[in-house]
Symmetry: T
Subunit: 148 residues, 12 copies
């Protein structure tokens, strides 16, 4: 089973950017924890981060061909990128939306996700731990779809 961990704009700065909100662990460190749990669960985690909306759209299209599920932190694109929403809807594998911070406890504009209606589910506010939970959820969704 292959699962894509897709991270959007400014997440390359993780650990450096506003640590009070996003924590002090860098993206590399988070990725390693995911890989490690992936090994435990028999899953290969692929990683991709970009600040370019178009590259994220392209990568989602590829994932529709190559991976079994997606864990997607769209960063600020969460709130306006209908192009990403359409890309998620256009491919047939499940996508779990994830946010490090509790977007519902921050600025008004962060309370609304244009991706959420086409995602399978959403996890927010649980920090890097959220990625690990999302990985378990993704595995469970893929297994269920294979059974069902």
């Amino acid at each position: 089973m292959k699962i894509l961990i897709l991270n959007g704009p400014n997440l390359n700065l993780l650990g450096k950017r506003e640590p009070g909100i996003y924590g002090s662990r860098g993206l590399k460190q988070v990725d390693d924890e995911i890989t490690s749990l992936g090994n435990e669960l028999g899953v290969r985690a692929d990683f991709f981060q970009s600040n370019h909306e178009g590259e994220l759209v392209d990568r989602l299209h590829q994932a529709g061909e190559n991976e079994d599920a997606i864990i997607f932190n769209p960063g600020a694109f969460t709130h306006y990128s209908y192009a990403l929403r359409d890309a998620v809807a256009a491919i047939s594998i499940p996508c779990i939306e994830i946010h490090l911070s509790n977007i519902y406890a921050r600025e008004e504009f962060r309370h609304h996700s244009v991706i959420a209606p086409v995602a399978a589910g959403q996890i927010s506010g649980l920090g890097p731990k959220g990625y690990l939970l999302a990985l378990r959820a993704a595995v469970s969704l893929v297994e269920k779809s294979k059974e069902g």
Copy 2:
């Protein structure tokens, strides 16, 4: 470690009510899975379900005295019970909000949670599996606050 699994209105009908949306497993079955994972993680799960907003407020107050964290599915109260919001904010233990269905893919009024801004985090759309993820997250939060 003791964690309260708190379920709001109409969740007693789980398995019978609109199975297309909420799945066919009953609340008892879901509780058993939680207990089982709790055993594995060395956590006691307490369960309480009520259709009465006041009883949920009372139980949250008790939890503030007796438990270490709360996993809370407020059902329809999610969208208007500021009394529950205030109760969650009034106690000092972390609360994880959970929804079986993807509330962002349903009717407009379900897109807004009045509880979310005072919760630690939110998990939605991942079915009964979501409770198990929430249990892991709750354990992690309690451990972190004990360390921290």
Copy 3:
């Protein structure tokens, strides 16, 4: 055939409360007229009134097991109780929403019913007579569903 007449908050004050709006007949008197028409139509009318949202949710769940249809005046809960809405949607028998006064000719907040979208139909502004019309409508709906 058994039909539940369910009345929400403050309707116990009927006849005493703002008679200019709600009329001078008490709830008991209205219930007697319903029973009387029920006898004529061969229907047993069950009555329940509560000022407690949770008790109304519980009673709706019971009705799903024991009665064939519901005539429901949710009082002020009409305008915000998504818990009652979910309870009506969760049971499989038809529910007719009724209001004594014309809610569309009163304060702005009374113009919107959160129950209406999941009710079979709505009767408003026709005073206690409305309950009798609702009883005829309920009988007709139950018969049709039995035929169909």
Copy 4:
């Protein structure tokens, strides 16, 4: 006692138009049932249908002179015809608004009636049966106003 059954735009297509929403009985059939119940109750039912707002206004003015009450299904005019609203308000006989379908369970724009605030009451979602209930209600209103 004379009661006008007034039907607005597209109701001439009843039985042919979107039968999933409006049922398969034609307007003639519905009118016959009303006449029949009218006979039983000692009431003459007059019928008028038009797709022209102006003709409906004119007919309401006449009804103010010739009939004792009105049962009015304004069709799509429900949602914007302030001219009809003013006509209903301008005459002194009671008017009961009726809708075949549950307008509160359909498109957003159908949730608001500009006629309702000046109608005596409203019945919606109960199909052709609604006209028969409205007839009973109208008779009751006329009798009460004669008594009172």
Copy 5:
């Protein structure tokens, strides 16, 4: 003269809950000060607190029979309980709405009170002192209505 001091949800936690906002005195202490001023003014103060909306509605109905005025802190119900609003409007004795904190200086949702339009007046932001002012106001209102 008898005056009911009615407190809504989470006010039982007074002194413990968010002391930065609500102060550090407990509800018992506040009640004692009210009783004491009541004695001075020749008024008996009755006390009732509940986290249950239905119990508050019931108690308001009783007050309509037994007390001369009400001092009501509806807590979070301030912002959505139309059932409480209707209960206040349904009884004929005056009701003074009170809030410990300045609700207009807090979250947006706290700026709107559904109770205020049917209350005699409102006092907010003056802490426990507000209850004592409300007691004086209530006495004054009752005396005026007896004179008038």
Copy 6:
């Protein structure tokens, strides 16, 4: 100089309809006063009233050919008839909008006129006297455009 006095829906009921709002003088009486002032000012007043939007549109088109200015009371069409707005904009003679009652002191929906932005001016709340003022204004506008 020829000036059209154009009256919209329900104005045929003037004098009979809600005299508290619209006064007790009938349309004929008002027309006579206009004719009389017209004679004084050397102007022929033409009169047309209809409850049919389409007839009003047609009459506006004719006025564009035959009259020099229009005094238009669109009745309830004021608030939604973009067809009338377009008709007023499509002809090249000036149009003065008039309302008997003060539309800004009535229901919310009457506060907005879709005709006003394309009218030369508006007179409201001054009763039948308003038509006489409008006649003077219309004469003045026509004279000015002839001079200019």
Copy 7:
């Protein structure tokens, strides 16, 4: 009979300010025409212009003692000065609101008048001529109130 012509902010610039919108005649010239018509109608016109909201409030209070009616062009205060609205409502003589330009054909914020609901009537878009019409209307209102 004495009638106050009250002009608000920036109207002292009339004739100089944006002549495309407000015309090229100065305020003095307009006042002279009003005086002249006043002489003809046997009315004394008093004039007051100020850019200071407080002075306009003061002058309205005086008018309540000294004049029989007011013709008021509130300028930009039209759109936000609730203090002026309250002053108009506080005095018992009629007030006619006037605007030189058609405020409904200009920027969005000019479409709403906070004065209009408490004025007797409104004349807009008819240029300086509007003051003359307002004078006739004011005389007519004062005479009617003296008769009535």
Copy 8:
């Protein structure tokens, strides 16, 4: 194949009305071009224009019996006539909505069409040429539905 070209209010003034927006060709000229292209494509074009909403509703009902498709320019009715919307939805032949001007580049109220959601498609801003494109599209839709 028969296709109805249906034009709404004020389109009879085409060529005379605001030529800067609607062009200088009259409706007759446009109809001739349509007939001519119809001959080329083997299609008979029927024409109907009315300023009366009711006549347009009636003509749509007839078209449902007699024609194969409709090209409909609803003029100002585009923005509020739910009666026309329901008529379009009530008949089973396809309807293409057309506008001469680019309605999205004009006044705010023209940006919203109540007809569009029930039309097959929409062409706007391309002038009289748009009718010719619509004719090609209509032919294509009818052929496809015959094949399909």
Copy 9:
């Protein structure tokens, strides 16, 4: 201790203006009662009323130098004077906002106070009695700040 009683526009008319809403006691009479209670509490009450926003701003600035607290009835400025809001925020002494009538039971625009978020507290709907309560509250706030 010195406390400023600051009254805004139209309050000079108290007793004369709309007595049904504001009562029949004049401002002088109310001031005397305040002075009298002030004497009892050992407080000097200073009085200032103006219809000029700028004078109220100036007086607030002075109060920041000379008085210990402010009781402020901003009249209609309540709803739009951000200049007064900023003045209240700019000085360091506490300000209690007061309204004679229940502003939440009147027109929509009166439900919102731009001053409230920067006031210490608010008292509304309790008539002239409210000033006396505010005086007690102000004394209590000043004493507390001196202690604290």
Copy 10:
């Protein structure tokens, strides 16, 4: 004559993505039909598709130098890309906006195009056929501008 056919995000998936909405023909097939009609009309069609907003902006700038008109399907960028809107407005050749599906019959957010106000015209809901119509329209616009 050279015309650019510009396609935005996710249109590379045409034929594979949600065929119920977008049809089963791939982009290549659609392009071939356009080329073929272009040959017939003596027009060269250039094609460009990208999921990157910036590349579309760049290509529009080039088109301003190299092509005579643009047929632009902005995909999801339709609803938020003001950068594309500015690019269309910045170049002097005409642009026809096109959508395969009827965007007015889908989710709320798709009803609004930020491109439309600066486009020459819009065609929506007519499937791949729409591109062919747009080509005819573009040719006609270019010819007209050359003549004019």
Copy 11:
């Protein structure tokens, strides 16, 4: 060249008022820096501050006669004084709007300026330095208009 530095309400408190937001330099100090830069640039700076809207309107009118440009910090009037907006629009010299703090990073109501649409430009958030930049900009605008 003469340039007016116009400051609105509460700016006389500069240096004393909320120094965290507005800085600790007083208005005099800021004025001196402006004069000094003015000397350098060969410009005379005139200064006027008032808490009275009417005085600011009057001073703007004078500036239209006596100065060449205006640098205007309207303080809280920024957000509602349409009288000031009209005064700025009524005079023909350029006006640069300035704010010490970043109004877009503060309370919602401060995000909207009613002056901005008629100002030449706006500088905000750059503290007292902003006045110096505005002076340079004003000089540049005046020179350009003299050249142009």
Copy 12:
């Protein structure tokens, strides 16, 4: 000191694009003036322009490492790019937002900047001169932060 001049989409067309709004000087010319003033002030100006949101995000990240301040004209991204907003917030150097035209005097959608709340300040409407002012402001901010 190094300062980045960052320009967003379509600014490469400066001088060619809508010169009535943006002026006739090209970007190169503007950059030269900035360099020249930079030399005078002892500052190196770096320049970057892109139509690609992702490249601007990347460049902002680099600037956080390499430059001391940023002058940023986000073009149309101003109104929706939360990704750019987050990038500005993520780096610790100050950013001054600049617009050539007065965005508050143009289309509604341009009145709101999502960047402004995280910028140090904003300059708009002052044309290319604005960049030079921004350079002075940036130097001043950097110096102050070095001192502070």
